[in-house]
């Protein structure tokens, strides 16, 4: 898919992004996974190598697809907004939508498709309720442009921003049950679990949710 928020270059010792490691922790070993907007296939390769998953991907850019093919990953060129309807029900154990839902034309339809295709869905997205976004809007009166959200308002692919609380609301609306939820801070580390929603929504730069059909 279109690259959206580039995440902080925070890696573990093996060079994996922390948010990928968090997602990987949510996936059962040996399961079937579809990664929508899989980029260069880093997450799929991580899941294959560490979790033994049978992974598939959809990616909008040719460069991304070619990088995936070179890693031996079965990835097809496609678009979350149009191509998910072609997958049968329950085709995957997990469908992952990483940093992409805010760039889709119909986020609600896409979320419903994820829950139809996969028994479970893992969705991560940049949190528009983060304090720095709020600061930019309320005090500076400007649309936020940061390392994580590097686009100017007129050329951003991110057309449907939401906050963590907005996303929770949407989950209720489409009948998705939240099995796990995490908010990551600017360093890509999870915000401590015991905090209330409003704190997550303030301190989390991105939200990561494990969902399943109710």
């Amino acid at each position: 898919m279109t690259p959206q928020a580039t995440l902080p270059p925070v890696d573990d010792r093996a060079g994996h992004r922390l948010d990928f490691l968090l997602v990987a922790d949510m996936v059962e070993p040996g399961s079937r996974v579809l990664d929508i907007g899989c980029g260069d296939g880093s997450l799929l390769a991580l899941l294959r190598d560490r979790k033994g998953v049978d992974g598939r991907g959809i990616e909008l850019s040719r460069e991304g697809v070619n990088a995936c093919l070179a890693k031996g990953l079965p990835v097809i060129q496609g678009d979350a907004d149009t191509d998910l309807a072609d997958y049968p029900d329950d085709a995957f154990d997990y469908v992952i939508l990483s940093q992409t839902i805010q760039a889709t034309r119909q986020p609600k339809v896409v979320l419903e498709q994820l829950l139809r295709i996969g028994r479970k869905a893992i969705v991560s997205f940049p949190n528009f309720g983060h304090w720095r976004v709020r600061f930019d809007l309320t005090l500076r009166g400007r649309m936020p442009v940061s390392e994580n959200l590097p686009y100017a308002w007129y050329d951003t692919p991110n057309i449907h921003f939401c906050t963590i609380r907005d996303f929770v609301e949407l989950c209720h609306e489409v009948g998705a049950q939240m099995e796990k939820a995490a908010a990551l801070d600017a360093g890509g580390r999870p915000v401590r679990m015991t905090l209330p929603w409003w704190v997550w929504n303030l301190l989390g730069e991105q939200g990561v949710f494990l969902l399943r059909r109710r």
Binding site: R32, R56, N66, L69, K71, G72
Partner: protein, 411 residues
């Protein structure tokens, strides 16, 4: 193949040889008989005890298949790659053609250090059943009559072509092919291989192809066939026995088909409305425009290397191709349980085998839970793009093949 190495407007004009084909009905070039019966390549011959069962319901007895190989088969015979050629291709995929003297038709893709690397893989390419480059076809001698088969040759299907290739692969002692690769009609064969012999295909790379031939494509083929059959020198198909050749009909068939291999953009870029060796129209039906001269040249060069009846048979094979029809109309069912790794490639400007055809294959493979990659390459060169210098295609093919080779344990 479609591209005859005519990259610019540098081809004979209408006053050259083209003229003779279109204006004179008496000139008959010598029939390249030797390539039909005794080709300049390897040949596997199958006797009366090894008939090829054809979909038409009749056995083909005493048949042969002409093929070329490149590279070396490894000890465990795991590195064999089969290349399937398109409509008018042949086995000379990576060597100079004995007929035209031109380089092999897919040297961009196949050779030392190329995506299909002949330093690593044992590459096989065979002429299709119904062809005219040494595999049994309508120009071959019917052992029952001692005359060329002509229209007594059974109608050929893509599955027949693949069945013949499988017999060759058996003959070579290869149980499982590492990869089957092909574009256009070659891609149809790749899909048929994966459908008919899933356990014998580790990886499949169908390019610029479809799981069924469209009504529009059947229509174009029918125009070409009618052009051949309307040529009085076709003689009801018995032209070889009667010493004539339907060159004009075959050339027209080729001219029409050639347009479908290009794109409006490519034609405009290459030719525009440019005149051929003149500065103004001649107010005649001479080839005033470069595009006319180019097409006439394509027609001319084609008739020197291809048999008209073969053209009828091989186009028919493509028309009949509908992989899902064999499986109750469900393409997903064709590939259910397949362990083959697929990579599908299409081109943006290909209107003969548009991306939607490739996507239909991909959707079916997804529905069948098969392993599939897919890239649509940006190109303005139309269907022919798969034979040309398309770095994105090479990158996708190389990545896919290298990764599959690692998985297969090929060094």
């Amino acid at each position: 193949m479609f591209v005859d190495g005519c990259p610019s407007a540098n081809y004979p004009c209408s006053k050259g040889r083209t003229f003779s084909v279109f204006m004179s009905s008496t000139s008959v070039s010598p029939e390249p008989r030797s390539q039909i019966d005794d080709p300049s390549s390897l040949v596997a011959r199958f006797g009366p005890d090894e008939p090829l069962m054809m979909d038409a319901g009749v056995p083909l007895t005493s048949w042969q298949i002409a093929y070329q190989t490149y590279g070396t088969l490894n000890a465990d015979k795991s590195n064999a790659v089969l290349i399937c050629h398109a409509l008018t291709g042949d086995q000379h995929v990576a060597n100079v053609s004995p007929v035209t003297g031109k380089p092999g038709w897919w040297t961009t893709m196949i050779g030392p250090g190329k995506p299909v690397d002949t330093d690593r893989f044992f590459v096989i390419c065979a002429n299709v059943i119904g062809g005219c480059m040494g595999t049994t076809g309508p120009a071959s001698i019917d052992p029952a009559t001692g005359q060329p088969y002509a229209l007594d040759f059974p109608v050929v299907t893509i599955r027949d072509m693949v069945r013949a290739q499988a017999a060759l692969i058996d003959r070579l002692g290869i149980q499982r092919l590492f990869c089957v690769v092909g574009g256009s009609m070659g891609g149809m064969q790749v899909l048929q291989w994966a459908a008919s012999y899933p356990e014998r295909v580790f990886a499949a790379l169908p390019i610029a192809t479809a799981a069924r031939h469209s009504a529009q494509n059947i229509a174009f083929h029918e125009v070409g066939r009618q052009a051949i059959m309307a040529d009085p020198d076709w003689r009801g198909g018995r032209y070889l026995a009667e010493g004539t050749r339907p060159s004009k009909g075959l050339a027209v068939a080729r001219m029409g088909a050639h347009i479908t291999y290009l794109s409006e953009m490519a034609l405009h870029r290459k030719f525009g409305r440019n005149y051929q060796d003149r500065s103004a129209p001649t107010f005649s039906f001479d080839a005033d425009f470069q595009i006319e001269s180019y097409l006439r040249y394509q027609g001319l060069s084609f008739v020197e290397r291809f048999d008209a009846n073969s053209y009828l048979y091989v186009t028919r094979a493509m028309d009949y191709f509908d992989l899902a029809a064999e499986h109750g109309g469900s393409l997903a069912r064709v590939f259910k349980g397949s362990a083959t790794r697929f990579c599908v490639i299409s081109f943006t400007s290909d209107w003969l085998f548009p991306t939607s055809d490739s996507r239909a294959i991909v959707h079916a493979l997804n529905a069948a839970a098969a392993s599939v990659g897919f890239v649509e390459v940006e190109s303005d060169k139309g269907h022919d793009a798969f034979l040309l210098d398309e770095p994105e295609m090479f990158a996708a093919a190389r990545g896919f093949i290298d990764a599959a080779a690692r998985a297969r344990g090929i060094s």
